[in-house]
Amino acid sequence: MRTMRSTVRRSVWAVPVCLAALAAGACSASPASSQGAGRSSSPLVVGVSMSLSGDLADLAGPAEKGYQLWADTVNAQGGLLGRKVSLKFVDDASNPTQAVTNYENLITADHVDLVFGPFSSLLTIPAASVASRYGYAFIEPSGGAPQVFALHLKNLFLAQPAPILSSADAFADYILSLPVDQRPKTAAYPTADDPFTSAIIARIQQRLQAAGIKTVYSQTYAAETVDLSPVVTRLVSDKPDLIVSGTGGADAVAEVKGMVQAHWTPKFLFFTGGPNDPTFPSQVGAGNVNGIFSSTDWIPQAKTAGNAAFIQAYIAKYGGTAAGIDAAAAEAYACGQLLQLVAQRTGKIDNATIISALHSGTWPTVEGNLTWDAYGSPQGADDVVQWVGGQLLPVYPQSAALASPIALPSWAG
């Protein structure tokens, strides 16, 4: 009991002490965040909490590469407004709590000049609020979930053309652009029970249903489901013209393999995730990819600002081929491009200027020409991509297309 009382007493004292410490932290953070970075010749330090370990580490790896490549590129060009860029990566172990701690430390203890966002919506949601509290701009590569923009933060900007929720909108546009007699008559919507995929699928289903495409199957399965053969059995039985599937990767592979084994193909097959993974052909069989649709925010062939230079620099630094570059690398690289553009257009690179500048105008990056609403949700659209001749190519909208959409051929087996 005495211990408890003394603990309470200590806690009472601790409140003003903590408040003072917080205020001190905030005060000590303010100078760094408000400094006109262009006036200094010291390196411009950009702090990033990155999932160097934990569940997201493999997925976040390309984002780290994209950030580093941008820093190397801009430094080779003399830096930003004469200042060399120095990236300070700290590991968040794929943990939201650690990401919050990291940004607190980067801003209040390390006094970094700027910050970039972490990988995934999971980490972006809590981290963006920290940056907002200290007045830091929060350009981020991959937090596109609706919950990110529901924070209503004016310092946040997603460096992608569209939020996740609307990532299948362009495919719906494509289907509805077809002459009525060529449109699918029936559709099936299997989806993983995942907040991203199920929301995307609900949105596209609503549009296609409203346009008269009859829903013959609409079911969710647990996200951790490993055996999708019952779902495929049902799809094969219902034989819809169109399948729009809310997938993350492994489930897309399982569905394709199931349909190949059943010797059945729908007329149109769209997955939210999976086909844009460079290893997809090796997983389902190279002869079984042609005709499959997906959507993406970036592809190597995109004719976007600085994309050719990005790919050339990426291959020079990391090796591999253009087809093997993960979109996450381009998303992170685009974050850096936005900083460069702000510096070029305003002659300044402080947080207030970045936030103010990005809220107006159009910003050309490898991810396309970006604009945002008041809370950082991008106002563009993803491209519809399709495997054509063994390559994943943009096929819709026409302005971005490098190939015409093809009909789904019979599986090669």
Partner: protein
């Protein structure tokens, strides 16, 4: 009706793979007196090894079983001798925690080595299937089922008709009495653990061809194994085989004809119904404080 039968076929075929994995679990429970929380990751480990043998050396996944079984048997034997045997003398419950920690550790090593990207073992025949009377039978799933039948048959022969099998059964039923009758219980238990892990090796190679996997796949698999064990009776090999096929069929039929959302729940309904009548499971015996 066609949908129902097609889903039943799919359920029986995948149920065979689960049966193989769960029978190893039952054997380990019998000799080690603890639930092997690492059985699923042993299968995933085997799937990765088979993936490497196929990808790097071109060894057919079904042939890779001939390499994996002795390797995994040795691993199981060593795990029992080094980690579980000392615990059995004090507290068998600790074995469960050790095996769970081992599962997490092995997944960490696999994630580091192979990364967390989804893998699938894809031999040329992976996408082939036969059509029999209008029903599709995927070749790879059929062969996986056949492999399960062969390995389960071999395990049955060993248990029923060899001296080792008698010692295994004796150790499983009453280790104290077995020791009094001259059975080297520690060695036999290690052999039992080895056989259980070896069955995971065969099941893992089959699993890796049938279903895309990564380290995280162990959790869904483990939940199935535990459900099968409870339904069939934790130490009962025939019980786990029957329970695994029931799980495969119920989940498949419900997912295909009603909704995938209800498939796992429907199996739990069967499980609760059986446990109401037979708390020890379908083929289980009453345990008197072994755990």
């Amino acid at each position: 009706m066609h949908l129902f039968l097609q889903a039943t076929i799919a359920g029986i075929l995948i149920g065979g793979v689960y049966a193989l994995l769960a029978s190893g679990q039952a054997m380990i429970f019998g000799v080690a007196r603890t639930v092997n929380f690492a059985q699923a990751i042993f299968a995933i480990l085997s799937a990765y090894l088979s993936y490497t043998l196929f990808g790097d050396l071109g060894i057919d996944p079904f042939l890779s079983v001939l390499i994996l079984i002795p390797v995994m048997f040795a691993l199981g034997y060593v795990i029992y001798a080094v980690l579980l045997r000392p615990l059995n003398k004090s507290s068998a419950e600790l074995g469960l925690l050790v095996l769970y920690a081992l599962a997490i550790g092995i997944q960490g090593v696999l994630d580091f080595t192979y990364q967390t990207n989804i893998r699938v073992i894809a031999p040329a025949y992976a996408n082939y299937s036969w059509t029999v009377a209008g029903y599709q039978i995927p070749e790879v799933r059929f062969f996986a089922f056949l492999l399960a039948v062969v390995v389960l048959g071999a395990l049955h022969l060993i248990r029923q008709y060899t001296k080792l099998g008698r010692a295994l059964r004796a150790t499983s039923q009453n280790p104290v009495a077995a020791r009094l009758l001259g059975v080297d219980v520690d060695r036999i238990s290690a052999v039992g653990m080895g056989l259980g892990v070896a069955s995971a090796a065969a099941a893992g190679a089959a699993f890796g061809m049938v279903i895309p996997f990564n380290g995280n796949s162990q959790y869904d698999l483990l939940s199935k194994l535990l459900s099968i064990g409870v339904l069939g009776g934790m130490a009962s090999m025939p019980g786990t085989i029957v329970a695994a096929v029931i799980l495969g069929v119920v989940e498949s039929v419900v997912a295909a004809t009603i909704s995938p959302d209800w498939s796992a729940f429907s199996f739990l309904v069967v499980l609760f119904a059986v446990l109401t009548v037979r708390p020890q499971g379908l083929f289980g015996r009453q345990l008197r404080g072994e755990l």
